[in-house]
């Protein structure tokens, strides 16, 4: 393992940076002290602390390493798209120290051995921590329950059927009840597969004009309504993944107001792109759920700002070039997003959507809490997973210089502001600009 033969400096001082740790409600220029892979102190040096390494963070922001709720590394099974090693590098370069992978690998994550394989490969890469969701149903086929107790014991952070449908509502109900038995969070992708069948774009003005088979808003809202009824009945803790419509955000807000144990997230492309970007048949804008209207985008932004969505994720889906080199409806959906997660997040501050501290919360403590992990904070005693970035450095996203193995992004040519200069994982520098 890389970590074993890379000497780990025991004691590091990160000095002079603006420390933003939403979990501890800290936002001021402070020094951060690291010892033995953990945060020793923030502010005053612990007694007798002698740093072996100093990182000058003047003019930079020091925040917890980012926690990405959804990123596909494509391993095991689709190594021609990307690997755990390649995507770990991209994550570290993007300041991301924890990745959560959905279970739809090949084979799917449904046994302790599958979880172990991913954990070992991630440790070998040594650049980021990878946690996994286990399959909600066997083979994600939506028919039989997976062995959730075993999955939990092996370390999965939740269960999900990813983008696959369940055979019927009874299977879903039983799966939620069984997950609740073991206090597992269920990650739901609200999508009525009958309503969205064969669709590849938002059912609206643009799809009508372009003759693209549409996915109606109701594909998302009908599924959420059903799920909420079952969540209420079963008492399971549930998380709604990748919401795309304003109405869905409203439904989640209502459920939260009513005291249901539900959280939700949005993937960052949905805070910038809309159905209009599909014009010209740009296959890089082919995503599931589809990009919706400008009004939806505004309501998603409001929901993130208000904390109805407590996490923003990359929904990273790296592809080989051929996957996008087809007529639009036949291309594979998804955007390679690790490289642009932080800069696009910071852009929300520039566009006046939310405060910097809130953006960092949605990228660190927010998702960590959803996953039930202790990371995402700089509180003394936590693992020293740290992202240091220069908030003023501007750069242009260029597909050819992306760290991810997948170069499929609609953000090519965008002017980005903010660049990661250092990433630390358990006190070890895993990325240095």
């Amino acid at each position: 393992m890389t970590s074993s033969h890379t000497p780990r400096p025991d004691r590091i001082r990160i000095s002079g940076g603006r420390v933003i740790d939403p979990a501890s409600k800290v936002d001021e220029v402070l020094d951060v002290y690291i010892a033995e892979g953990s945060i020793a102190a923030v502010g005053a040096a612990p007694e007798g602390f002698a740093a072996e390494r100093e990182i000058d963070a003047a003019g930079r922001v020091v925040c917890p390493g980012l926690v990405d709720l959804c990123a596909r590394t494509r391993e095991p099974g689709q190594e021609y798209k990307a690997t755990i090693a390649s995507e770990s590098l991209a994550a570290a370069a993007g300041g991301i120290t924890t990745l959560c992978c959905p279970p739809d690998t090949r084979p799917v994550v449904e046994t302790p051995a599958d979880i172990e394989l991913i954990r070992l490969r991630a440790e070998a890469a040594g650049k980021t921590r990878i946690v996994t969701l286990g399959a909600l149903t066997r083979g994600l086929k939506g028919e039989y329950l997976s062995e959730m107790a075993a999955l939990k014991k092996a370390g999965c952070v939740g269960v999900s059927n990813a983008l696959r449908p369940l055979a019927n509502t009874l299977v879903l109900r039983r799966a939620l009840e069984y997950a609740a038995t073991f206090d597992l969070t269920v990650f739901l992708y609200p999508n009525d597969h009958w309503l969205s069948a064969n669709g590849c774009a938002h059912e609206g003005k643009v799809a009508t004009r372009m003759g693209l088979p549409g996915i109606p808003e109701a594909a998302e809202t009908a599924a959420i309504a059903r799920d909420l009824a079952l969540i209420e009945q079963t008492g399971v803790r549930a998380h709604f993944c990748r919401l795309s419509t304003g109405r869905a955000a409203h439904m989640v807000a209502r459920a939260q107001f009513d005291g249901l144990p539900v959280t939700a997230d949005v993937a960052i492309p949905y805070l910038y792109l809309t159905e209009i970007d599909v014009r010209g048949f740009d296959s890089h804008c082919h995503v599931i759920p589809p990009l919706r209207t400008t009004e939806d985008r505004q309501r998603l932004r409001d929901a993130v700002q208000r904390g109805i969505f407590s996490a923003i994720c990359s929904d990273h889906q790296p592809h080989e070039p051929d996957a996008k080199l087809r007529p639009f409806p036949s291309t594979e959906p998804g955007i390679s997003g690790l490289d642009s997660l932080l800069p696009l997040g910071l852009r929300l501050v520039d566009e006046g959507v939310m405060e910097l501290g809130d953006v960092i919360h949605r990228l660190t403590a927010g998702p960590a809490q959803i996953l039930g992990l202790s990371c995402g904070t700089l509180a003394p005693g936590s693992s020293a997973d740290i992202c240091i970035f220069d908030p003023d450095m501007t750069w242009q996203l260029d597909a050819s210089t992306m760290r991810s193995h997948g170069h499929n992004t609609p953000f090519t040519g965008w002017e980005m502001k903010g660049r990661v200069t250092h990433t630390l994982l358990a006190g070890r520098v895993v990325h240095l600009l």
Binding site: T208, L212, F281, R326
Partner: protein, 323 residues
């Protein structure tokens, strides 16, 4: 982006992909050029040497008889060499990607592809990946566009009703949701400043936000065709029953099938059109299809002249074509 893809920097046709992005002068120019070719197709020697030495490939990923045949005839009457490739039964079945198929054909020094594909946007995709000297003509992509069909329809309307579309009421009846023909017709009718464009269909066959296309939506046939100068019927596919879009052909015929009786609601000189092939007794009665107001067979004839115009113009032989 679309404009730059199908037009060159002087605004001339480079590819012909969709009606959107064209302008009024260019559209009328194509129709005028088609008019000059209509003479050629009526002569006993039906050839002009405009595209002699050029090789045109009809690349059809979807079955078609009428469109492919008229494209083939149009190319032959321009003296081009024509190759018909039916991909539904060849390469893609063997796993070759669309781009590989394209590259292989390009290596044979093809000058023009006439493409039909089941995916919306397929012609745009091909046009953005071919070599610079190759032209692409869209012969139908998914539900998106079938621009030569729309042009031959406009050509037919112009011949019958005159060039002033502003005083016309045109009703398009049938499955607009799945129809690339309807989308292209609507854009063309709008570009020609048609006075009143209507679509008539049950809600299940009308796309979301159809009014944004610049049409008035009707769900009752007699109200929709009231005072119409032109009625364009669309073909109804059998699989629409399986998709729960319609209960039965019978009920569709009862409500939306055009009969002589229902035609009383339309204008006295109404013209009946259909892109073919017709389902007699579903979209319309034989009496209507074969009646004096029907121009369905003229549409087919005009298809050749319009396609000759588009092909020759896209090959930058426009000036010679007009001479």
């Amino acid at each position: 982006m679309r404009n730059s893809l199908q037009l060159d920097d002087q605004g001339r046709l480079r590819h012909f992909l969709c009606i959107e992005g064209l302008n009024y002068p260019l559209l009328t120019d194509i129709l005028d050029t088609a008019e000059s070719f209509a003479g050629v197709t009526e002569q006993s020697v039906k050839k002009v040497p405009l595209l002699r030495g050029k090789t045109i490939v009809n690349l059809f990923f979807e079955a078609s008889t009428r469109t492919r045949t008229t494209f083939e005839l149009a190319a032959k009457r321009l003296s081009a060499d024509v190759l018909n490739i039916n991909i539904t039964q060849s390469s893609t079945v063997k796993g070759e990607t669309l781009l590989d198929t394209l590259r292989n054909l390009e290596a044979m020094h093809i000058d023009m592809f006439v493409v039909r594909h089941a995916d919306s946007g397929a012609a745009h995709f091909i046009a953005s990946h071919v070599a610079p000297h190759v032209s692409v003509i869209n012969a139908g992509d998914g539900r998106h566009a079938h621009p030569t069909q729309a042009l031959l329809d406009m050509f037919t309307i112009r011949r019958v009703k005159g060039a002033d579309f502003g005083r016309l009421r045109v009703a398009i009846v049938g499955d607009v949701l799945h129809s690339r023909v309807a989308r292209s017709q609507i854009h063309a009718l709008n570009l020609l400043n048609t006075g009143d464009i209507r679509i008539v269909a049950p809600r299940t066959l009308v796309p979301a936000h159809a009014d944004a296309l610049g049409v008035h939506v009707y769900h009752d046939l007699e109200a929709g065709i009231e005072g119409a100068d032109v009625i364009i019927m669309l073909r109804l596919q059998r699989e629409r029953m399986q998709g729960a879009l319609l209960p039965s052909e019978h009920e569709y015929y009862e409500l939306f099938g055009v009969t002589e009786e229902k035609l009383a609601a339309a204008g006295p000189d109404v013209t009946i059109m259909h892109p073919g092939p017709i389902n007699r007794g579903v979209e319309m009665d034989s009496e209507v299809a074969d009646g004096p107001r029907s121009v369905i067979l003229e549409q087919v004839t005009h298809g050749i002249a319009v396609r000759m115009a588009v092909m020759s113009m896209a090959m930058h032989r426009r000036e010679e074509a007009r001479a």
